[in-house]
């Protein structure tokens, strides 16, 4: 009973000193590990929750005041939360949104036609939302979210749970929509394909702090490669750092590419070295002198690998 009237409260800072501007029409990726604060940031920008300190302006409005004009110009799609009415067929759900957003009839019919054809779901418009597959449902959610042609779209992991084809289709659609309609899109995703193919700018959050704000390509240092070496015996990373004179944050254990388990197993004896092109041969020579190499290969740096190391705190972008 005491807890009912005097609940115990713990304070957790979901975001700390996050500050940025977004130009109209841009496509921004918001990435971070689980719990980094991405969804909290989207909730603040869309007006669902207020910031504890500081201020937010979206389209000139204070989002938390939620004026009607503001709500008519934004959209929020959450990959993990259904927003359409499950028992209604998609068409009926869109009709309801047509009324809510007061979309002119002719425009409404055209948009449903265009969007359902673009996303290849026209044949499912009479099906109840709850009967659709995840991919089809996400497409309907997206259609429902942008029927009113919002100026700003917040997408929270829209491709989560989608197969490769469905995710690619969704991505293609978002790209076209952003380019054609000049809508500002802020997207959170754990899928680096989404970020690489769509976003001209990336914001990286770690433990609530904004640690990178710039182009995705800016994360990849020019001329850097990844040297993958498999040793006969599992090496000590600190020992490797000492003999190669490379910083420890440029050396990491290789995960097995053949592992199907989401918790990837370390590949026995495999190590990654992040190097410039002209460092590869000298480092290999040193490694051959100090151990038996079973296999080796050279890879291009991937955005995913860089971001993984950023999440782990291994590198500063």
């Amino acid at each position: 009973m005491q807890l009912l009237f005097k609940p115990e409260i713990q304070t957790h800072f979901a975001l700390k000193d996050v500050s940025f501007n977004v130009e109209p029409g841009s496509f921004v990726g918001l990435i971070g590990a689980n719990g980094a604060g991405k969804t909290t940031l989207l909730k603040i920008l869309s007006g669902l929750i207020p910031p504890t300190e500081g201020s937010t302006r979206v389209l000139g409005y204070n989002p938390f005041e939620r004026p009607l004009d503001f709500r008519r110009k934004i959209a929020l799609v959450m990959g993990q939360k259904a927003q359409l009415w499950w028992d209604l067929p998609a068409n009926d759900a869109f009709d309801l949104l047509h009324a809510i957003y007061d979309i002119p009839d002719k425009l409404y019919r055209e948009r449903v036609q265009i969007l359902s054809e673009l996303l290849d779901v026209k044949q499912h418009l009479q099906t109840q939302i709850r009967r659709l597959s995840l991919g089809e449902r996400m497409k309907m959610e997206l259609i429902g979210a942008i029927l009113h042609w919002p100026s700003v779209i917040f997408l929270d992991e829209p491709t989560i749970g989608l197969d490769v084809m469905a995710a690619a289709k969704l991505r293609e659609f978002l790209k076209v929509f952003n380019q054609r309609e000049k809508s500002t899109i802020i997207l959170t995703s754990h899928n680096m394909d989404d970020i690489e193919r769509l976003c001209s700018r990336v914001l990286i959050l770690r433990a609530g702090e904004l640690i990178y704000d710039g182009k995705p390509a800016g994360l990849l240092r020019e001329g850097e490669r990844r040297l993958k070496v498999r040793f006969s015996l599992v090496p000590d990373l600190e020992e490797l750092s000492r003999i190669t004179r490379l910083p420890l944050n440029q050396i990491s254990v290789a995960m097995s590419e053949r592992a199907e388990d989401p918790d990837l197993a370390p590949e026995t004896g495999g190590v990654y070295f992040t190097l410039k092109q002209d460092q590869i041969v000298p480092v290999l020579q040193i490694l051959m002198q100090h151990g038996t190499i079973i296999d080796m290969g050279i890879e291009e740096q991937s955005l995913e690998s860089v971001i993984q190391r950023v999440f782990e705190g291994g590198i500063k972008p």
Binding site: K43, S46, I49, R71, R72, L76, M78, G79, K81
Partner: protein, 233 residues
């Protein structure tokens, strides 16, 4: 079928109760009402009970708890009005059916004081009672912002309403409350127990309650929304 079930069970309970009191125990009057008057009250109260509010307040509380409220907060709709209008659609259909049945009863079975015009006025009171029922629920559901779950509170409210609305017993001996307007008040006017002047007075009371509760909803939800965390992703 659900409507029939909701109507028949309470009516049967009341009929058994009055039969036991009047026929078995030999009472001639109870709270100023005879056996026939009690039966007429039972018939008519069943009609207005179908128009009493639904469970939209539970839905509101659940939306706060699960984060589904967010779906409405980002859209250009008044949340409370949207949820109410969506829920009242079926009640309007039921009220039309109940009114039709009530008009037939008023010219056939009920006493001479009853009339189709009184039945229409009574149904208007019952519909205002429906609005008040929802508003009280909306105020209570705002507790979910603080407690995360207002289910228990809303259940207690529903149990109190069952008694205080006159659904089971005429409320002659109870003090006036907004719950009067759900069942007892409309039944009294329909049966000719209330004068037209009393009806107009009760209409005024209903609109006053609606205004007061509208202010309370704005206050409780205005405070509560600041604590909303939009759970679920």
């Amino acid at each position: 079928m659900e409507i029939l079930g909701n109507a028949i069970v309470p009516a049967a309970i009341q009929w058994v109760l009055w039969y036991a009191i009047f026929k078995t125990d030999g009472a001639t009057e109870l709270a100023g009402m005879t056996y026939v008057q009690m039966l007429h009250y039972t018939l008519v109260s069943v009609l207005f009970n179908q128009v009493r509010g639904g469970d939209q307040d539970f839905e509101l509380a659940e939306m706060i708890r699960t984060g589904q409220l967010s779906n409405y907060l980002i859209r250009p709709v008044g949340l409370i009005q949207f949820i109410y209008i969506r829920g009242v659609a079926s009640k309007l259909l039921i009220s039309a059916l109940s009114l039709a049945i009530g008009i037939v009863l008023s010219v056939s079975v009920l006493s001479s004081e009853a009339s189709p015009l009184r039945m229409i006025g009574a149904m208007l009171l019952a519909l205002l009672g429906n609005v008040i029922h929802f508003q009280i629920g909306a105020v209570l559901s705002a507790m979910a912002f603080r407690w995360e779950d207002a289910y228990g509170l809303l259940m207690v409210k529903n149990m109190a309403v069952s008694i205080l609305s006159g659904e089971l017993l005429p409320l002659n001996l109870f003090p006036e409350s907004p719950f009067y307007l759900y069942v007892f008040g409309p039944a009294q006017y329909a049966l000719g127990e209330w004068t037209h002047l009393e009806f107009v007075r009760q209409l005024g009371v209903a609109f006053l309650w609606i205004f007061v509760l509208w202010v309370l909803i704005r206050f409780t939800w205005g405070l509560g929304i600041k604590k909303y965390v939009s759970l679920g992703g």
